[in-house]
Symmetry: C2
């Protein structure tokens, strides 16, 4: 009887795939870069090729796979497995579930990446058995996920949880979404990179100059951590500012939801969590009502880069129970 | 058989009481001012005296009353009818339900005023049968209420929905709560009053000078409406700024919740709604993700000053069904 699961994290810069066994252990992995020069790959093609690679390279039979699950960017109807809207793709209401199931003959489930990351932390990571959880994922952008009354909340039209687009200053910097002063426009790596490059161009002395490629799109988290570790003043400034606004966003969300837990995840936290978390907890007191913090734990992601993989597993199990 | 309900709105400046019949009509009302010189009245005393006045003045027998319900400021456990914390009162975890029920021999239910106002609009007002609703109530301060998945969401510790304390600018004006740049610090009447008084003291010409008492705590909504109607430039500026930040807050909440409806209520909207609502809808597009507004109606309160009275009725009916 089939006992294993194919789980995927379809990101903008990389695709992770894993086979997870019945004991929730990852027994095989693949990782692929999404090469920018190849243009926008279609999500469907990526899912098919990663699944094929996993099966081929691991030697595991397709008949041993219970289901395939994935998290991807975009507005996704998790109940139907339908892509309502995906950034840079021409699709509207595309039934990807049917397409993948026809291809493999295995059940397929898909959800929004941030929501699926939240499910991973909730079912297998930092927030197990918590009834109300806010998840904030800081990477290239800032994503969010919400668990309300023991249920993932993605809203009536699967658009809820866009926590990166809370407005933290109506006169603030422009965000990619067209709003001003979004959390993402302060705390995401795109905005941090912009500030670092501006400062370097103005002649600011920083070791980041040797660590980053000025032509490169977005700074990676590891060189940023190296620079912070070496007490580079620009790196520290940029990270502190990002954390300050992250605290403002998280604080607002605590005032709105009064959650049992706030989980902070994403690539930036994975690399810089030890530096960021204590700083965040100090700042957050500025932005929370008296006493409201008492019932709210603020913790880093436990699953880190695997949050969406385990979230895909959680999605499969939830949907198959229905 | 008892068929009528005593419902109350215990506010900081006034107390409203009503008897509501089996057809949801208000058949008798009392309104009392809370006189500041008498100091902080205890919530329990107010509830008792308003209930006694209603019965005495209407001539309705106590035996004809099914239950008493009320909304009041503070952190209130709606399930137990317990006051967890009330501003300016020395109580912690006070079992007011038991106290009132012992006094009258009638079931008593109590909830937080903004949450109860949200319930009123949801069960009898603007948001009937909507599954996900955000309520923002603009008065002296700014309160909020949330309906999520067909249920009032007050959080695991009855602290959720503090929408007036979302941070809209970490460097913004100080709020009464100690944070900076809260929605309430921009859009509540306390902050509007502060700005009007500052401008008058600086010699700014405005008809508000004759309409407000400089010693008075907070401007009332009616003179503000008169001044706006007469195109007083200061009044228009102050209201526009409040609406701009209200739009930033409401827009963020739409990005977070993707709700079916946003209800805007409170005294300011009751008086100035015709001016504010179109303005709000224009501004809100700045603060919402592309397309997300499509599924969200933005409407003014229908019950207006009676929202908490009808919310108390809704609370009674919900709790008695259990």
């Amino acid at each position: 009887m089939a006992s294993k699961y194919i789980c995927m994290d379809i990101g903008g810069t990389k695709v992770l795939g894993a086979i997870i066994d019945e004991k929730n252990n990852i027994i095989y992995r693949v990782k692929k870069k999404t090469r920018a020069e190849k243009g926008v790959e279609i999500i469907e093609e990526r899912i098919i090729s990663v699944a094929q690679d996993l099966l081929k390279e691991s030697g595991i039979e397709k008949s041993d796979i219970v289901a395939i699950g994935a998290g991807a960017p975009g507005v996704i109807n998790e109940d139907k497995g339908e892509i309502i809207y995906a950034p840079n793709l021409p699709w509207k209401n595309y039934d990807i579930k049917k397409a993948i199931e026809n291809k493999f003959g295995i059940p397929f489930f898909l959800g929004n990446d941030a929501n699926i990351g939240m499910m991973g932390e909730w079912k297998y990571g930092a927030a197990v058995k918590k009834k109300n959880v806010v998840g904030i994922f800081v990477g290239t952008g800032v994503g969010g996920g919400l668990v309300i009354n023991n249920k993932l909340f993605s809203g009536p039209r699967y658009l809820a949880g866009e926590l990166g687009h809370m407005v933290l200053n109506p006169e603030g910097p422009y965000c990619n979404c067209g709003q001003r002063g979004c959390l993402e426009a302060y705390s995401g790596k795109v905005s941090m990179t912009k500030e670092i490059k501006n400062q370097i161009q103005r002649g600011r002395s920083t070791i980041l100059k040797d660590l980053i490629d000025m032509e490169e799109g977005v700074i990676r988290s590891k060189p940023l951590k190296m620079a912070v570790d070496q007490k580079d003043s620009l790196a520290i400034e940029v990270v502190d500012k990002a954390v300050y606004y992250l605290a403002a966003g998280a604080g607002s969300l605590i005032n709105i939801f009064n959650p049992d837990m706030v989980v902070i995840g994403g690539g930036v936290i994975e690399s810089l969590g030890d530096y960021i978390m204590p700083q965040l907890k100090r700042y957050i007191k500025r932005f929370t009502l008296p006493d409201i913090l008492e019932g709210t734990e603020i913790v880093p992601s436990v699953l880190k880069d695997d949050a969406i993989l385990f979230g895909s597993l959680a999605l499969i199990k939830e949907k198959q129970l229905k």
